[in-house]
């Protein structure tokens, strides 16, 4: 292994421009992937934030007793999808309306009769907010005789989930395409670097070096170029992220596991590309 590392480092020293260019090409290819990952991550956060606001509200008939509200709250709370059930009294509803809708302040202030109904607000757990689960909970709530109406913005929820599906498919397809293009670019860059050293491979085969021994320095070189490229991609993406935050709008940096994955992917692509390229040359002698 020490020979492989020594040879890989020596190769970088002997042809710094070529190996440097390989690393830069790897970096640029992965930068596109990283930028896309950053955009996809922020889109996911935005959709999640909207999703978290999805809740089922059961409006209660006038005169619903506290005992009835307590029973319904307890029953609904026991459902696995339900995070919590908040009873809202008529007074609280009016208070909220006055606070949240100041433009109607005069209307709510002038009336002596509170027109707003009491309600049960059902909040769902993360990961359980599916269209089916929401509709089922709404139906269950609607079955109580003291529930006048159930609202969760069916159309709005349908659109939200449709948008989430589109975003998921688009992310997968575009992300896959970007990854494929990056793999091709990385493969080509490393093939060029290895082609420049085909004489060495030829001589090694000629004098009786083992295939594994021949391959190892090139795999090491591919891994180093991939790691450097991945680190470069990460640095440029970070710079872009800072610039966007500074001059355009607020975005969130990707999780550290994603960043590590990007650098790891660079190394993996580097090793794989080198393996394929060396194998071709090993067949020549």
């Amino acid at each position: 292994m020490s020979h492989a590392l020594r040879e890989a480092v020596a190769a970088f020293r002997r042809t710094p421009v070529l190996t440097g260019l390989s690393a830069v090409m790897v970096g640029l290819a992965l930068f596109v992937v990283a930028l896309f990952a950053l955009a996809a991550f922020n889109l996911r956060i935005a959709l999640q934030a909207v999703e978290e606001r999805v809740e089922v509200v059961a409006y209660l008939h006038e005169g619903t007793t506290a005992a009835e509200i307590e029973i319904a709250s307890a029953e609904l709370s026991r459902l696995p999808e339900v995070l919590e059930v908040n009873p809202v009294t008529k007074e609280e509803a009016l208070e909220r309306a006055r606070r949240d809708l100041p433009e109607f302040g005069e209307l709510f202030g002038a009336t002596e009769v509170n027109p707003l109904p009491a309600s049960l607000e059902v909040r769902l757990r993360d990961g359980t907010r599916t269209e089916v689960a929401i509709a089922e909970i709404a139906d269950l709530a609607d079955d109580y005789p003291f529930v006048e109406d159930v609202a969760y913005g069916r159309e709005w929820v349908d659109k939200l989930f449709a948008l989430r599906r589109i975003a998921g498919v688009t992310t997968a397809v575009l992300g896959g395409a970007f990854a494929c293009v990056a793999a091709l670019i990385i493969g080509t860059a490393l093939r060029i670097a290895i082609f420049a050293r085909k004489d060495e491979i030829y001589i090694m085969r000629l004098v009786g070096a083992r295939n594994g021994f021949i391959r190892r320095p090139f795999l090491m070189e591919g891994a180093i170029a991939g790691l450097l490229g991945g680190a470069l991609a990460l640095a440029v993406t970070w710079g872009t992220y800072r610039a966007v935050v500074e001059f355009l709008f607020r975005v969130t940096w990707m999780p550290s596991a994603w960043a590590a994955g990007l650098v790891g992917a660079g190394a993996a692509f580097g090793i794989l590309s080198s393996w394929v390229a060396v194998r071709r040359h090993l067949r020549e002698v």
Binding site: I203, V207, G208, A209
Partner: protein
């Protein structure tokens, strides 16, 4: 040492390169492989080195059969068979010493032994004063000597030489031939492909195998046409 039995080689586009060739080379023997360009000399050497595999027949070199030696294990044979080319095939941008050291390193010589051994090999081919010279600073004859030193790195039993004097002037040719004689005198078999009949005539004691259009047509060991 080397045994070819009914060996044929056919390329998809070129057709027959060798047809039913059989001969053997014993330990410590010196053999000229002669014939016109394209007659099949290089193909024969490649088959002995197992860079190519026969379409029919069998090649056995130092106990390694072409029928049973996998690509994965061919390195074992390569360490027993040195190879020298007309165009030297040295690594550019490296010194004579580095070229020989490279062959030693990649075949598992202990790191501390690489430099002394490379120096000894270059001394053997008369290049002690040029150890640090880059290959492009050397003459053709000197480059060929570096290539020979590299071929000797693993102390092979056989040295294959494909037109090794083809790019050399008369003086350098003489020097390289003397070197081959010295190597052969130490017990190493030498199989040298050449189309230079003057060179062949200059060494009447050497066994000659003549190939013509892929067929072995003459073997001086039997003083008669080889093919029936």
């Amino acid at each position: 040492m080397i045994q070819l039995t009914g060996v044929s080689k056919e390329y998809p586009k070129r057709g027959h390169a060798l047809s039913d060739v059989s001969f053997s080379v014993g330990k410590g023997e010196f053999v000229f492989l002669t014939g016109h360009s394209g007659s099949g000399k290089s193909t024969t050497l490649k088959l002995i080195h197992m860079a190519e595999r026969p379409t029919a027949g069998e090649v056995v070199v130092c106990g390694h059969s072409s029928a049973r030696t996998s690509e994965r294990d061919v390195w074992k044979l390569r360490r027993k068979v040195g190879y020298v080319f007309q165009e030297f095939r040295l690594l550019p941008g490296r010194s004579a010493l580095e070229n020989v050291a490279f062959a030693l390193e990649v075949t598992g010589t202990r790191a501390s032994a690489v430099a002394p051994k490379a120096q000894r090999l270059l001394a053997q081919v008369g290049l002690s004063p040029k150890l640090g010279a880059l290959v492009h600073e050397l003459s053709g004859g000197e480059q060929q000597r570096v290539a020979i030193a590299r071929a000797l790195a693993n102390q092979p039993f056989v040295l294959l030489a494909d037109e090794p004097t083809g790019n050399l002037d008369e003086r350098a040719t003489r020097g390289v031939m003397e070197l081959f004689w010295d190597i052969n005198a130490q017990g190493m078999a030498v199989v040298m492909a050449t189309h230079d009949l003057e060179l062949v005539r200059a060494y009447p004691q050497v066994r000659v195998l003549e190939i013509d259009q892929g067929r072995l047509v003459y073997d001086s060991a039997s003083h008669q046409p080889a093919s029936a």
